[in-house]
């Protein structure tokens, strides 16, 4: 009898612990892929929207990554629920690559009801998901959202066949940020780095390196983001009009690559192992600056205020020497809000967007001031907050500067094979860096070989 009792109790304990374990088991499994964002995530089960839309309890579920974006969306939620107390905006932090994997998995398995109402998606992959999984996205062309109030190049990222599928979010205008104290040490000011060419930049960079021991730029090794920025700044497309890959016989590409390789050769560009190494190099002050999308301001501003406040400045990036069509402006990254096709409260979502993201300059002011999130909503650029000087950046009104840059970005052909192209170019760069001893004198033949291989790889991936 005693043995039966003990075994019964043990079985009950085991059953309870199994049930308890089942819910908490998700954390470790999805962390595997990229380390783009510094924050951890829990891509748990998503609440499915309320089955019957009732006026009493309406809610919207939102997926987005990074504490900055989460806070921005929460702020929008607060503004909206102040006027609509029966609505809840439920924001769930999910890493960008997880959002992509989840969207894809749900779309493939037909489980579209598990999608959130609203999700954030990287601009660079938006077209890919729009083309491959069109059932996921809701058409919001005729919802009354004023798309003309957003920067044209940003809206274009989420447009297919003339229909809109997304509300643009953060600005991807490229800026160059430098530590003015290091520059001063070497005898330069921020004006010396404004509206210059890469050749001039390299001369300055070598001087700064010699006098301060600091490299001018930093990036993540093996990732051709800087190369892609240089390409776009000169209007050089790696895709042709039909979205096919066009790397071979692309003279602009070779010139851009030579500039990039020279930066590595002269040690002006220091490559970090991964994203957290990249952020570390900025925050620890071991580099003079970086060139990236304006969203990098958020990272820069998280450093120790007392040490670096007032010692940063923003300007435009160097241009590709005398290449025809070269400019000092480019775009990198950025993201867009999308609404899923299974959103039960579609009208609510549209009203929410029209009131906050596509209608309230006060909202953009608050996220700018508190979070450093720069938007592409054009009416917001005229507000006071955008013209306020930033103490961190040496007392300059950087936000209006950045928004003004946004108008000058050259348009290039985009395609759905961005990820494949990025990896192929990254491989090409790494191969040259590892195989050619003298990066200053890379022959045309070396470049042609790696470019041909990159093109073959991407074409192989396209040819399905």
């Amino acid at each position: 009898m005693k043995r039966k009792l003990i075994s019964l109790i043990l079985s009950a304990v085991m059953a309870v612990s199994l049930v308890g374990c089942g819910g908490a088991g998700d954390d470790g499994t999805t962390a595997g892929t990229s380390t783009d964002t510094p924050t951890k995530s829990e891509s748990d089960n998503v609440d499915t929207p309320a089955s019957a839309p009732s006026d009493d309890a309406q809610s919207l579920t939102v997926w987005c990554w990074d504490s900055f974006n989460v806070d921005a969306m929460k702020k929008a939620g607060e503004i909206y629920t102040a006027d609509h107390p029966d609505v809840t905006i439920n924001v769930q932090e999910t890493v960008s690559s997880d959002i992509q994997t989840l969207i894809q998995t749900y779309a493939m398995s037909g489980e579209l009801n598990a999608l959130p109402d609203i999700f954030l998606m990287d601009d660079q992959v938006f077209a890919k998901y729009l083309q491959n999984y069109p059932d996921v996205f809701a058409d919001i062309t005729d919802s009354g959202i004023p798309f003309q109030d957003f920067a044209e190049s940003k809206v274009a990222n989420s447009v297919k066949d003339g229909k809109n599928y997304g509300v643009p979010y953060d600005s991807n205008t490229v800026i160059a940020c430098y530590r003015t104290d290091y520059l001063e040490q070497a005898g330069y000011s921020i004006e010396d780095l404004t509206d210059i060419t890469w050749d001039e930049f390299i001369v300055i960079g070598e001087d700064v390196l010699a006098k301060t021991g600091m490299p001018m730029l930093t990036n993540v090794q093996g990732e051709p983001d800087l190369l892609n920025m240089i390409l776009q700044s000169a209007g050089i497309s790696v895709f042709d009009e039909n979205g096919g890959i066009s790397l071979v016989d692309n003279e602009g590409l070779k010139e851009a690559m030579r500039v990039y390789l020279k930066l590595i050769d002269t040690k002006i560009l220091q490559e970090q192992t991964d994203w957290s190494g990249y952020q570390g190099s900025i925050n620890n002050g071991t580099v003079v600056g970086t060139i990236n999308g304006s969203w990098i301001c958020a990272t820069i501003m998280t450093t120790d205020q007392t040490q670096q406040e007032g010692n940063w400045a923003v300007t435009n990036m160097p241009k590709l020497n005398d290449y025809a069509g070269a400019t000092n402006y480019s775009a990198q990254g950025g993201s867009t809000w999308a609404v899923s096709s299974t959103c039960d409260n579609f009208d609510l979502a549209m009203d929410f967007f029209k009131t906050t993201w596509a209608g309230s300059t006060a909202f953009y002011d608050s996220i700018l001031k508190d979070l450093g999130a720069i938007a592409t909503y054009l009416p917001a650029a005229g507000s006071d907050a955008y013209n306020e000087p930033s103490a961190f950046f040496g007392g300059e009104a950087i936000y209006s500067k950045i928004v003004s840059y946004g108008n000058e970005i050259p348009k290039i052909n985009k395609g759905i094979y961005w990820k494949e192209e990025k990896e192929a170019l990254g491989t090409a760069l790494t191969n040259i860096v590892n195989s050619v001893p003298d990066l200053d004198n890379v022959t045309d033949e070396d470049l042609d070989n790696v470019i041909a291989e990159a093109q073959a790889t991407v074409q192989f991936n396209i040819g399905q």
Partner: protein, 299 residues
Amino acid sequence: MKSNGKRNTGLTINQKQGLTGWFFLLPAALLIFAMNFYPMLQALVLSFKTGIGNNQVWGGLDNYARLLQDKVFHTAIINNFFYLLIQVPVMLVVAIILATLLNKKDLKCKGLFRTMIFLPCCTALVSYSIIFKTLFAYDGYVNTVLTNMGLISERINWLGQVSTAKVIIIIALIWRWTGYNMVFYLAGLQNIDESLYEAARIDGAGPVKAFFKITVPLLRPTILLTTIMSINGTLQLFDESVNLTNGGPANSTLTMSHYIYKASFEYNPQFGYAAAMSYVIFILVAILSFVQMKVGDKR
């Protein structure tokens, strides 16, 4: 059989007990079939289809033919075999030596040593990969120590150079799995009679000779087991490739499983192609294990 006059139309006791056994096995067998074998069949069917995302059309052996031309896949296979041919022998040799050392009767703190060597196996794959990545970063611990000790004048970019990235993965794998294999060998060693070693000592054999002539041959089944498991594991390597090097500089540490993940979730999704690649891994593991069994198992 019943011995009275009536014919026995029911089941024999043996048959009844057999049926009972089958009934107990049935739920688990059905689950395994539904969760394991049926998806494997579905994957096989998927590997015969081509197309992006949900647009799958029948393609026959197109995916397999495509594999023959995929340079990145060839690189991935070569990487896997590189790890296999270098890491597995080194790890198993170290494991067997450690097991022999830790099996000595009069060694103090045996339990402590065994635990310490086995502990790496208990770490999560993702965590240890990320920590190794941090250790070998450009301004990481290893570079700092080596520079301070004066062994290198300039920091080495361990994970950024094609030549050293593979080495880091091999070091990480050896660190993690040696203890695991050592435990298997320890268990196998318990079955070897001490008297054999005594006899060898009396005959004048040194420890090295005893090791090669007694330990290794008698551990043969265990060695076979660990080799097959290691080959299986190395061919399916994923976590280290993703978290330590992310495919490595220019795909130099990319493994087949990582490439499958990329083809499915990072590139424009080619699920049929990815399924074909998984079957290639399956066939490779099956062939290698078969060869192993033939060569190693004399039973």
